[in-house]
Symmetry: C2
Subunit: 105 residues, 2 copies
């Protein structure tokens, strides 16, 4: 279980679902775009406080950022009615459907 990559995937997925660019997310979260890039690629090991601030900026619970996502959800061999998410990260990159072109111009 690679926590860095798990958090990275969750952050990227949720960010894209919200239709935010890394830059727009950076502005509203206070983290730099560079840091978010590293984070989403699993190169960073955020603290629980950082986790909470990221989740708050994304409008989700901090728990959502550490929840297994199917890519490497090992510890639970049996799942009963859980969520099945097998879509690729890239697939989400298309467009979240909502706001594109995050503010600013």
């Amino acid at each position: 279980m690679d926590m860095r990559r798990l958090v990275g995937r969750n952050v990227r997925r949720i960010r894209l679902e919200k239709g935010l660019t890394q830059e727009a997310f950076a502005e509203r979260s206070g983290f730099s775009q560079q840091y978010l890039s590293d984070l989403e690629r699993g190169r960073r090991n955020p603290t629980v406080v950082t986790l909470f601030e990221l989740a708050t900026a994304l409008g989700v619970s901090h728990v959502a950022l550490v929840e297994p996502d199917g890519e490497d959800a090992r510890v639970t061999p049996l799942r009963r009615g859980g969520q099945r998410k097998e879509s690729a990260d890239k697939a989400l990159a298309r467009n979240a459907g909502g706001a594109s072109k995050a503010t600013m111009s």
Copy 2:
């Protein structure tokens, strides 16, 4: 939402439920007893990797360590002025009910 304290409470509660001392938990987790003491008292800001290692050593999911526990869990719109729950932690130290004396030496 004080993530440091939330994680601290969860770790302490689960550790005591398992009937482990900080020292016994330190041995099986690889963290020092001093660090665990700080952690449980909300003085530390662990990374997600640390969170996972702690959870693994406790035999629970890493999600359990960040799950709201009622103390400051829900986004209680009601007044959140009082966190005078100081002695409550000690109350747990009495005995977790199950295994006592963590299979030492």
